[in-house]
C-alpha cells in the first residue's frame, strides 16, 4: 500500500529522494524553537477563520437602518459594514466564535512573532548565514501589525473609527506630501469614501495575507537551506545538527502543537469576549470615548503619540513636521531601523563575518544582550505610557504626572537596563570574555 503510493508519486514527480531527505530533516529540540511555529500555526487559524468572515462581511460605508437581532441598536443608522458585523455576530451560527477566534488569533500572532524575534535576537541566530531569514521575519512583523490594524478598522465601530482618524492624521503628518497621501488613500478628506473601505478590505483579505504567505514560504525555504541553529551541547558542533528527525517524532509533535494552538485560540474565541463592537456603537466623526485602547500591538505607537510634547516645527509659514509624525512615523522607523540594521551593526562592531550555527546564550554576549534589553525597555516604557489613560480612568492616578514620569523614564530606564543587564550577564557568564573586541578573534 505505502510502497504503491510512494511509487505512484515518484513515477509522476521524481520527488521521492526529496521526500526522503525531508523526512530525515533534523530539528534540534528546544522549547524556544516552538515560538516561530506558534506564529505559523496562528497564521493558519487566521486564514481559516478569516475566509469564513469574508463570506458575510460587506465592506461599505453605505448608511442603513439597523434592524437586526441586537435590540439596543435597532432603528439606529449604521454603515453596512457595521451592520454586517453585527449580523455575523448575532445571527450567523458560529459566526461570533469565528470572529472572536480571528481577533484573538491576530493578537496571539503578533505575540508569537515578537517572542520569536526576541529569541532570535538574544541568541544571535540572525548572524551569518541567516540574515535574509531575519530580514524577512522582521518584515513579517511589520506586515502583521499593519494587517491587524486594517482588520479591526474594517468594522466601522467607534474604536475602529477613532483608530482610522489617528491613522489619517499620521499619514497626513508626513512632511511635504502628507496632504496628498491622505487624499490618495482616502479619496476624500476624512472619513473618506466607501472606496477607502474597499481598499483596506482588499489590503486586509488579499494583499497583506498574500504577502505574508509568500514571505512565510521564503522564510521556511531559507531555514531549510541553512538548516536550524542549535544551542551548544554534547556532540553539537558548528558543522552538524543534532535533534529529532521530521519523521516520525517531530512531525507528530509539531502537528500536536498546531492542534494545541488552534485549541487555545478557539477556547479564547468561545469563552473570552473580545472587541464587542455592539457595545462601542457605530462611529461618527463627532464621537469618541475615554479610555479607548487599540489592540495591544499598537500600544507602543499610541504611547509614542501620547508622550510627544506639543512640538510642531514651522518653516516659511508652513507646518513643517506635524506632531503625529514623531510618534506615528519617526518612532516606529527608529525601532524597525534598529531591528533591520542590527546584524550589520554587530558585524561592523565585532568584525565577525564567520558562519554561526551554534547559538549564544544571552549571557555569552553581554553587550548585545544589554543593548537589546535597553531597546526593549525603551519601547516597553513607551508602550506602558500608552496605557496612562486606563491607569487614570481605572486607578485615578493623575494623567499628566504619569506622562511626565514616562517622559523621563524613556531616557533613564534604558540606560539603567543596559548597565544592569551587562552586569548580570558578566556575573552569570564567563566574566565578559566575549566582548566586541574579543568576539572577532573568537571565530570558530
Amino acid at each position: 500500500m505505502i510502497r504503491r503510493a510512494v511509487g505512484w508519486l515518484d513515477e509522476r514527480s521524481g520527488a521521492v529522494p526529496l521526500v526522503q531527505k525531508g523526512l530525515r530533516y533534523v530539528f534540534p529540540d528546544h522549547w524556544s524553537f516552538l515560538l516561530g511555529e506558534m506564529a505559523l500555526y496562528t497564521f493558519l487559524v487566521l486564514v481559516g477563520t478569516g475566509v469564513y468572515l469574508t463570506l458575510f462581511f460587506q465592506p461599505s460605508y453605505e448608511p442603513v437602518v439597523y434592524d437586526g437581532a441586537y435590540e439596543p441598536l435597532q432603528g439606529r443608522e449604521v454603515s453596512q459594514a457595521y451592520h454586517s458585523v453585527l449580523d455575523l455576530s448575532f445571527e450567523v451560527k458560529a459566526g461570533l466564535l469565528m470572529r472572536q477566534t480571528h481577533h484573538w488569533a491576530a493578537n496571539v500572532f503578533v505575540v508569537a512573532i515578537v517572542l520569536h524575534l526576541l529569541r532570535i535576537f538574544f541568541t544571535g541566530a540572525f548572524r551569518k548565514p541567516r540574515q535574509l531569514t531575519y530580514y524577512v521575519g522582521v518584515t513579517m512583523l511589520m506586515l502583521a501589525v499593519l494587517e491587524g490594524f486594517l482588520g479591526y478598522s474594517l468594522v466601522d465601530d467607534l474604536l475602529s473609527g477613532m483608530g482610522l482618524a489617528i491613522a489619517y492624521s499620521v499619514v497626513a503628518s508626513v512632511p511635504f506630501v502628507g496632504g496628498n497621501l491622505v487624499l490618495l488613500l482616502w479619496e476624500a478628506p476624512f472619513p473618506g469614501t466607501s472606496d477607502f473601505l474597499s481598499r483596506i478590505y482588499v489590503g486586509h483579505v488579499l494583499l497583506l495575507p498574500l504577502a505574508l504567505g509568500a514571505l512565510i514560504a521564503i522564510h521556511l525555504t531559507l531555514i531549510v537551506a541553512t538548516k536550524h541553529t542549535q544551542f551548544r551541547g554534547p556532540r553539537r558542533l558548528e558543522r552538524n545538527v543534532v535533534g529529532t528527525p521530521l519523521w516520525p517524532g517531530y512531525a507528530l509533535r509539531s502537528l500536536g502543537l498546531m492542534c494545541a494552538v488552534a485549541a487555545a485560540l478557539l477556547l479564547l474565541g468561545g469563552l473570552v469576549q473580545i472587541n464587542p463592537v455592539w457595545l462601542w456603537g457605530p462611529y461618527d466623526t463627532w464621537l469618541s470615548t475615554n479610555g479607548a485602547q487599540p489592540d495591544w500591538y499598537l500600544g507602543w505607537l499610541i504611547g509614542a503619540l501620547r508622550l510627544m510634547p506639543s512640538w510642531e516645527p514651522h518653516a516659511w509659514g508652513y507646518t513643517f513636521v506635524p506632531n503625529p509624525f514623531w510618534g506615528g512615523v519617526a518612532f516606529p522607523l527608529v525601532v524597525f531601523g534598529f531591528l533591520f540594521l542590527w546584524p550589520t551593526i554587530e558585524r561592523r562592531v565585532t568584525g565577525d563575518d564567520a558562519f554561526h550555527h551554534l547559538l549564544d546564550r544571552p549571557r555569552d554576549v553581554p553587550w548585545r544582550t544589554a543593548t537589546g534589553v535597553a531597546v526593549f525597555t525603551w519601547v516597553a516604557c513607551v508602550f506602558l505610557a500608552g496605557a496612562s489613560d486606563r491607569f487614570f480612568v481605572q486607578a485615578g492616578v493623575p494623567y499628566e504626572e504619569q506622562i511626565w514620569f514616562w517622559r523621563a523614564a524613556v531616557f533613564v530606564l534604558p540606560v539603567l537596563a543596559f548597565l544592569l543587564t551587562r552586569r548580570l550577564c558578566v556575573e552569570l557568564g564567563d566574566g565578559g570574555r566575549r566582548t566586541p573586541a574579543s568576539l572577532g578573534a573568537d571565530r570558530s
Binding site: 489617528i166 543534532v242 509533535r253 503625529p324 558562519f355
Partner: protein, 325 residues
C-alpha cells in the same frame, strides 16, 4: 532414473511452482532505518482514549451547532476536541513511535565552483557588446519610463493634487449652528458647565471641518486675544470639535468642581489627552497637539439662535504640510 520417478519429480516441481507463484519471496534482510520500538499497551490505550475524546468533542461541536449554536459551547467543544487531539499527537510522538536522536552534517553553503561558473556565465554573455554605456542608458530609460507608466494609474486613487479640499470649511459668517437633529441652537440653552456639540446648518455633519464644541464660561474668566474681542457673546465659546493633533473628536470637558484648587475648565481629546484652554481661545495646555483649537466667532441672532460671525481662526483637523502657522 525410472520414468515414474521422473514424472513424480516434474509433478512435485509443478505443484511447488504453482503454489509458490505470486507469493512474496522471503525478504532479503534490509537494514532497519529506525530502531525497533515496542509501544506499550498503556501508551496505545491512552492515545486511543485521547483520540476518542477528540472525536467526542468534534461530535459535540456538531450537536451544539445543530441545537442553537451557543458560542461558548461551540468554542468549548471544538477547543477541547483539538486539545485532546494535540495531546494524542504529542503522546503518540513520545510513546508510540521510535525515539531517535540524529546527527546530521550541515554540508557546505559555499559552492566555490558553481559561484565561479555563474559569474563566468554572466560575464561571458556580455563580452561581445561594445556600446555598453549606450545600452545601459537605453535600458535605464526604458525601465524608468515603464516604471512611470506602471505607477501613474495610482494617481486615480484620489485627487492627489487637490489638497485645497483639506482646507475647505462650511463655517462662514451667518451660518447657523444646529444640533445633531438639525434644530437651531439657542444661546440660552447653553449654561455654564454644559458641553454642546453643534453642526453647520445645511452641510454634511461627518467631515472634520463640521462639528463644533459650544460651551459657556463666565465672561470675567475669558482671556481671549485682543483681536478676538466680541467673539464670545455672553461668554459663549465655539471651537472645532476635532483635535488638531490626531483628528479625534473632543468629548471630554474638564470642569472644576472644587474651585480654589482644581485646574480651570479645559477641552480634552480622549485619544491622546491633548488639553486645550477655552478661556484663552483654545491654546494647548498639555499633551501632544501642536497648535490651538480653531475658534469660531459667535453672534446671537434676533431669534436667540447662535450663528457664525466669521470663519474659524485656523485650519480644522490634524495638521499637515499646508496648514499655515
Amino acid at each position: 532414473m525410472s520414468f515414474v520417478r521422473r514424472v513424480g519429480r516434474w509433478a512435485t516441481a509443478g505443484v511447488v511452482l504453482l503454489l509458490a507463484r505470486g507469493r512474496p519471496r522471503p525478504p532479503a534482510e534490509v537494514a532497519r532505518i529506525l530502531p525497533l520500538h515496542r509501544a506499550g499497551d498503556r501508551a496505545e490505550l491512552a492515545v486511543a482514549s485521547l483520540l476518542l475524546l477528540a472525536a467526542a468533542g468534534g461530535a459535540g461541536f456538531v450537536a451544539v451547532y445543530l441545537l442553537g449554536a451557543d458560542t461558548q459551547l461551540l468554542g468549548l467543544s471544538l477547543g477541547l476536541a483539538l486539545a485532546f487531539l494535540a495531546a494524542a499527537l504529542v503522546l503518540g510522538s513520545r510513546a508510540l513511535v521510535p525515539q531517535v536522536e540524529e546527527v546530521e552534517e550541515r554540508g557546505e553553503l559555499v559552492h566555490a565552483r558553481e559561484e565561479a561558473a555563474v559569474t563566468q556565465l554572466v560575464e561571458e554573455s556580455g563580452e561581445g557588446i561594445t556600446r555598453r554605456r549606450l545600452l545601459t542608458a537605453a535600458a535605464g530609460t526604458a525601465g524608468l519610463a515603464l516604471g512611470a507608466a506602471l505607477v501613474v494609474p495610482a494617481a486615480s486613487l484620489g485627487p492627489v493634487l487637490g489638497t485645497d479640499r483639506l482646507l475647505r470649511t462650511p463655517w462662514q459668517r451667518g451660518r447657523r449652528l444646529v444640533d445633531a437633529r438639525g434644530r437651531p441652537l439657542a444661546a440660552d440653552a447653553i449654561a455654564e458647565g454644559i458641553f454642546e456639540i453643534a453642526f453647520p446648518e445645511g452641510a454634511p455633519k461627518d467631515t472634520l471641518d463640521s462639528p463644533l464644541v459650544v460651551i459657556r464660561l463666565p465672561e470675567e474668566a475669558l482671556r481671549l486675544p485682543d483681536e478676538r474681542s466680541g467673539w464670545a457673546p455672553g461668554g459663549l465659546l465655539a471651537f472645532s470639535q476635532i483635535c488638531t493633533h490626531a483628528g479625534c473628536a473632543i468629548t471630554l470637558y474638564r470642569w472644576p468642581l472644587f474651585e480654589p484648587t482644581a485646574p480651570g475648565p479645559a477641552l480634552v481629546c480622549p485619544c491622546h489627552y491633548s488639553t486645550f484652554d477655552p478661556a484663552t481661545g483654545g491654546d494647548v495646555l498639555f499633551g501632544p497637539a501642536g497648535r490651538p483649537l480653531p475658534q469660531l466667532p459667535l453672534e446671537i441672532d434676533g431669534s436667540g439662535a447662535l450663528r457664525a460671525a466669521g470663519p474659524l481662526s485656523g485650519a480644522t483637523g490634524p495638521s499637515w504640510w499646508g496648514v499655515r502657522a
